[in-house]
């Protein structure tokens, strides 16, 4: 039983490394994501000028930015497989669970890399600062893993549909809403101060939703993947 689990994890890591290598050859998804985020950030910052925003606006803008950046490129992992017609080969060499885990890991790493670059830039350009750093980091990480999870499973669904791009955002948005609501509120609280008790509600909601959606996605992926 343990060895089976180990093989599963090993396979996921292999698929993850394969995707990372492919990504480094063309750097398509990374570039698209970072450029999109920087463009949006520039537009926001430019149009706002030197105005100081209140925490509500700052946290909303941050998560809008992150959400749309994920919408622009997190579907790449599955769509590329379909377009380059390597998906059938992938089906042959591995069971569905390692594929899901590997792709999920890739998306998580991708969104975290984006955040390392964008989030400091965001706060610098918008002239805002975070008072409760620990809450902020927890909310940020949980929220991004949530967005990555939702993106992975929806990307798998749309990779088999016809009108890929628009459908991705349409399908992903309702499911991302609980994540966005909790994250925006949590971030707002962390910007205002180090208020652990209030933000605990949101962090709990985020964490439980994340666990639930990850489990359901894992279980359901098999049905998406098998033709």
């Amino acid at each position: 039983m343990a060895s089976k689990l180990l093989t599963l994890l090993q396979n996921s890591v292999f698929i993850f490394i394969k995707d990372v290598r492919l990504e480094f050859r063309t750097r398509y998804a990374v570039n698209a994501m970072i450029l999109f985020a920087i463009t949006t950030l520039t537009a926001i910052s430019f149009s706002l000028g030197p105005v100081r925003l209140d925490p509500n606006l700052v946290s909303s803008l941050l998560w809008i930015l992150l959400f749309f950046s994920s919408m622009s490129s997190l579907s790449h992992i599955f769509v590329r497989e379909e377009e380059q017609q390597t998906s059938d080969t992938l089906r042959l060499i591995s069971g569905p669970i390692p594929i899901f885990l590997g792709k999920w890991l890739f998306n998580v790493v991708l969104i975290l890399c984006l955040e390392i670059i964008i989030v400091p830039l965001f706060f610098i350009l918008l002239n805002a600062s975070v008072q409760g750093m620990s809450i902020f980091i927890v909310v940020l990480i949980l929220g991004s893993i949530g967005l990555a999870t939702v993106s992975t499973v929806i990307a798998a669904i749309i990779s088999q549909a016809s009108v890929k791009g628009a459908l991705f955002a349409v399908l992903a948005f309702p499911i991302s809403l609980p994540i966005l609501i909790s994250s925006i509120n949590g971030t707002r609280l962390s910007i205002e101060g180090n208020n652990f008790s209030e933000s605990m509600d949101y962090i709990q909601a985020l964490f439980s939703f994340l666990v639930v959606i990850f489990t359901v996605s894992l279980l359901v992926f098999e049905f998406i993947w098998k033709k």
Binding site: I157, I158, A161, I175
Partner: protein
Amino acid sequence: MLVIVGAFLFTPTAEGLGESTRILYFHVPCAWVAALAFLVSAMYSIIYLKKQNAIYDMWASSSAEIGMVFTVLATITGSIWAKAIWHSYWNWDPRETSIFILLLIYAAYFALRSAVDDNEQKARLSAVYSIIAFVTVPFLIFVVPRILESLHPDPLINTEGKINMNSKMLVVFLGSLTGFTFLYYWILKLKIGSYQLAGVIQKKLGKD
């Protein structure tokens, strides 16, 4: 059946605190049926994935169609009531948000169905989406209103889960709820019947 439904919905004119509260008898059952339709759709989606029989997909999508209609009704009745009581059509109150998200989920479900051509794939992918989307519903309905403050009145969302309504109102309300549920079930059966008839006719036409 429809007579019973009609009778229940017309008796409320005798009761209610303040004229506008009577819309409660329409609005809440609409929202309840919308959520119920979605639950039924998700259940049939699970059964479809297990048994791979196309008839379950028919149940799932019919239930979703009806659910969409009721969600729109719930949103509109809620909005009208909001204008009457709180003097604004839309406030992003947690419950309002949840019903709006339900609307989005239904719209996304039908967008997905229209984007996939192959029937078996369509059924499979929309079943999966139905299940995933259904996971978010308990969160939106129960978790969010507990955390954030809500404009919706207390009998509906108090933390003990009790119903503190005037007993007369309660009777009529429950009757309306039951009536709406029967209405939903009746329409669902009609839909399934008509789809099956269409299938039979198609087969006969195909043979000729």
